[in-house]
């Protein structure tokens, strides 16, 4: 176990290093010049050169990357080119909102996805099953931007059940979580359905049925706990999908998380913020996968860590 953890940690570090190198290189190769974004349109060539020098952007790639890495090791992500604030501060101030949204989204997708999958499996082959599966398909394919605006229009503007965007109370959290959750719910419904069908075919379920147990007892006490385990283990892997989704969903709902920060930074070629958000996201994904793998044997003893 310790061996395994050590190996995985080193792997994770290498992945993060790779991510930082690739992102840094891509941003370096970008035809857009960040110095001109900072210097503005009235700047003289000398002002542009001065700024380039001060930011060290006149240095060769290797030197720039090395400087970035050495600062990174001490936890310094640099200062935003446009906002001039510490990137760490900007990310830390926005991270709680994104994490909250992620928790809300996971709850939504589990609640919706698992119940849909469960019902579909139990009613397998019926019209209910087919309707649910079509619905899950729509959920998976619907663009989040559209889903978000639709939910806003119906539940916030028309029905006034929830506020129109913003951040602060649990009521603000519902619609963005739902928007993000609907995508995942589609996947979970499908996974849950097949996992449940699989379990319902097992001998011990047949035995339970032969004993004359009530149908609800078979489903909820015997089948569900076994069917749900492999599905739950997927959450860690989901984080990557969330990181992509928050950029859109945060923008629609005015949710002050790192997705919005990233989007605005990309538009302004604010390299330190782009680097910072990418690394934090990569870290979250790596951590999520690692946790999923480490926890898996505890919930499903058939899995062994090697």
């Amino acid at each position: 176990m310790i061996d395994y953890l050590g190996r995985r940690l080193i792997q994770s570090l290498l992945i993060l290093l790779g991510v930082s190198l690739i992102t840094f290189a891509l941003l370096y190769l970008l035809p857009a010049d960040p110095v001109r974004q900072i210097a503005g349109r009235s700047a003289t060539p000398q002002t542009v050169e001065n700024i380039r020098q001060q930011l060290g952007l006149d240095q060769p790639f290797v030197v720039q990357y090395w400087h970035y890495l050495t600062k990174l090791v001490s936890g310094d992500l640099g200062r935003s080119y446009i906002q001039r604030s510490e990137v760490t501060e900007l990310i830390v101030s926005r991270l709680p909102a994104s994490l909250l949204l992620m928790v809300g989204a996971i709850l939504c997708e589990l609640l919706i996805g698992l119940s849909m999958g469960l019902i579909a499996a139990v009613k397998r082959g019926t019209a209910t099953d087919q309707t649910l599966m079509v619905a899950s398909f729509v959920g998976v394919s619907a663009p989040q931007f559209v889903v978000g605006l639709l939910l806003l229009y119906v539940f916030a503007v028309r029905l006034s059940w929830f506020p129109i965007g913003g951040y602060g109370t649990w009521r603000h959290l519902v619609l963005p979580s739902l928007t993000m959750g609907i995508l995942g719910a589609g996947w979970y419904a499908r996974m849950m359905r097949s996992s449940m069908i699989d379990v319902l075919r097992q001998d011990y379920v047949r035995t339970a049925r032969a004993k004359g147990l009530a149908r609800s007892a078979i489903i909820f006490r015997h089948a569900l706990p076994n069917a749900i385990l492999p599905v739950i283990a997927m959450i860690g892997i989901d984080i990557g999908i969330f990181m992509g989704g928050i950029v859109v969903v945060e923008s629609v709902f005015g949710w002050p998380g790192i997705g919005q920060l990233a989007w605005q930074a990309i538009q302004r070629v604010d390299i330190p913020i782009i680097m910072g958000v990418t690394l934090v996201s990569a870290f979250a994904i790596v951590l999520g996968n690692l946790l999923a793998d480490v926890i898996a044997p505890f919930i499903d003893p058939r899995i062994k860590l090697r």
Binding site: A39, S42, N50, S85, F253, Q260
Partner: protein, 547 residues
């Protein structure tokens, strides 16, 4: 030294030249305005910084003007200069020395009195390369600027503190735009002790002399401005509090305004909803329309064949159906025929421009040796409505045989292509188009049409460089006497007429700005589409439902 005019007189004369009545700053308060109340304004993008030396965004431009003041400002809702922190000013006859007398008793938000030392400090700071100010270049005419920019001197030798209430500027050349330069955000006055206290974070802890103070800034969520009770301009501001809610998608902000949760849309009415809003008489009545100091244009790279031939450029000017392009954006613009927008002094009302004439355009193209047209590329920014506009232009060009493929790219990439001599044959400027920094005709020339901008990384994307016109521009800007402003504007009109003869651009339209406000908002309409306090003049608007 003989001084020929004293300030308030000069301002009045200048105002008269602009055809507007002169109003003294103290008198400019709306007598119907009610005091008090709080409003909510929304913006999509984050406020990057509130440091006047650095901020250069749509969202923060007017916020900074409400937190800080400069020596000069404009009468609310207009382009008429007036003294602000300066009480009066004098211009030497040679146009190279400006002396400002400061108001007494103006206090920073920290309680200290503002003096001439602060003015000098602020200008030394903004021009110092370490500040990395995007506006440093505006101060190029001040003596000693080159040394400061090159890092050879710490302060501008041309700025002298005569006494605590007098500051003198010496310029290297007569500069008719200098009073405007003293009004832009980059010249706003900051207190040294606060800048040193917060260092690079001053932009998050702004301390100025302005009408409002920043009392809360929750990153990515909201900023709260509260009235500065010690504001030197008695009777202003009218509002007690403004809350800026950030990160609001324009369409969501519109829905909230329609429900009464928001008072003013900081961003434009979303294009997709524009017709719906305008079709509803109740909402339409709350829409404020105003001209912007903006021109959208197509640049043609004059150093690249076949655009090195003036006939080809003229043909392009005649081939584009500007009225149709304006329709594409729901008539939120007026067709343009010259670089200057209509609300800019120096705009030539008598100039007719190139007519939309496909047959003549084809003939010109044939004369230029391209009877069958040619293939080229049209660069455009990739956000709506720019690709649609580019497509309309593409179709118009196809009608005379020019096959332009559209390169739809992110803003920064289009800017990069334009700044590269061999980068882009044609660029549609939308989304990056020139919005004036100050209301003076010279502002549309230097960086975007003059030789100085036709350098790698510059903004003169047509690479048009006419040394003769550069000399004429310098000559026009040396006419400093405010009494001769009309003459000077005529000189500028002539310069732009000549530019149009050479046709490095095809001017397409001048955008109109449409702002939607709630029913409780009061104040003259032009405060909501202020040409200088962009987008809204926060100091002068008020709410009707107080008292």
């Amino acid at each position: 030294m003989k001084k020929f005019l004293a300030s308030t007189v000069a301002a009045s004369v200048l105002a008269l030249m602009l055809g507007m009545a002169s109003v003294r700053a103290e008198d400019a308060v709306d007598p119907n305005a009610k005091q008090g109340g709080a409003i909510i304004v929304t913006y999509k993008d984050d406020v990057a910084t509130l440091d006047p030396a650095i901020g250069y965004d749509w969202q923060n431009w007017s916020m900074i003007k409400s937190l800080f003041d400069g020596l000069m400002d404009y009468e609310p809702g207009t382009t008429n200069l007036k003294p602000d922190l300066a009480e009066s000013y004098e211009i030497a006859p040679d146009g190279k020395t400006f002396t400002f007398k400061l108001r007494h008793g103006v206090k920073f938000h920290n309680g200290r009195e503002m003096t001439a030392d602060d003015v000098k400090y602020s200008l030394d700071r903004v021009t110092n390369p370490k500040t990395q100010s995007p506006g440093a270049g505006f101060f190029g005419s001040i003596k000693g600027y080159d040394d400061v920019a090159a890092g050879k001197a710490e302060g501008l030798s041309g700025v002298t503190v005569v006494d605590p209430y007098t500051v003198k500027f010496e310029l290297t050349r007569p500069d008719a735009t200098f009073l405007h330069v003293m009004a832009i955000n980059f010249a706003h006055v900051v207190p040294k002790e606060e800048v040193e206290k917060y260092g690079a974070d001053f932009g998050r802890h702004p301390v100025g002399t302005g009408a409002f103070k920043l009392t809360e800034w929750t990153l990515g969520q909201r900023l709260v401005f509260e009235r500065n009770p010690d504001y030197w301009h008695k009777g202003l501001p009218h509002l007690d509090k403004i809350t800026f809610e950030i990160g609001q998608e324009p369409i969501v902000a519109l829905l909230r305004l329609q429900k009464g949760e928001v008072d003013v849309l900081g961003d434009v009415i979303p294009p997709a909803k524009f017709q719906e809003v305008m079709a509803d008489p109740e909402q339409k009545a709350r829409v404020v329309e105003g001209g912007q100091l903006q021109t959208g244009y197509v640049t043609m790279n004059t150093t690249m064949a076949p655009f090195d031939n003036v006939k080809v450029r003229q043909a392009v000017n005649m081939a584009i159906n500007k009225a149709r392009v304006v329709q594409i954006i729901n008539n939120r613009a007026v067709p343009a025929n010259q670089p200057l927008p209509p609300s800019m002094p120096g705009y030539n009302k008598d100039y007719k421009g190139y007519p939309y004439d496909v047959a003549k355009a084809k003939a010109l193209l044939a004369e230029a040796g391209h009877p069958d047209g040619f293939e080229t590329q049209l660069f455009a920014m990739n956000t709506d409505p720019n690709p649609r506009i580019a497509q309309a232009i593409q179709q118009d060009l196809a009608a005379i045989g020019i096959k332009a493929s559209i390169q739809s790219l992110a803003q920064a990439n289009v800017i990069a292509a334009g700044g590269d001599k061999a980068g882009a044959p044609m660029i549609w400027s939308g989304g990056m188009a020139w919005i004036a920094d100050f209301p003076d005709p010279s502002n549309f020339y230097g960086p975007i049409l003059g030789c100085a901008g036709a350098v790698p990384g510059g903004w003169n994307w047509s690479w048009y460089c006419n040394k003769d016109l550069d000399a004429k521009a310098a000559e026009a800007d040396s006419v400093v006497d405010p009494a001769k402003a009309g003459e000077r504007y005529k000189m500028w009109s002539a310069i732009y007429d000549k530019v149009m003869e050479d046709a490095p651009w095809a001017p397409i339209f001048n955008e109109q700005r449409f702002t939607l406000k709630s029913a409780r908002m009061g104040g003259a309409d032009n405060l909501y589409v202020d040409p200088v306090h962009i987008p809204i003049n926060y100091d002068n608007v008020y709410v009707k439902d107080v008292q």
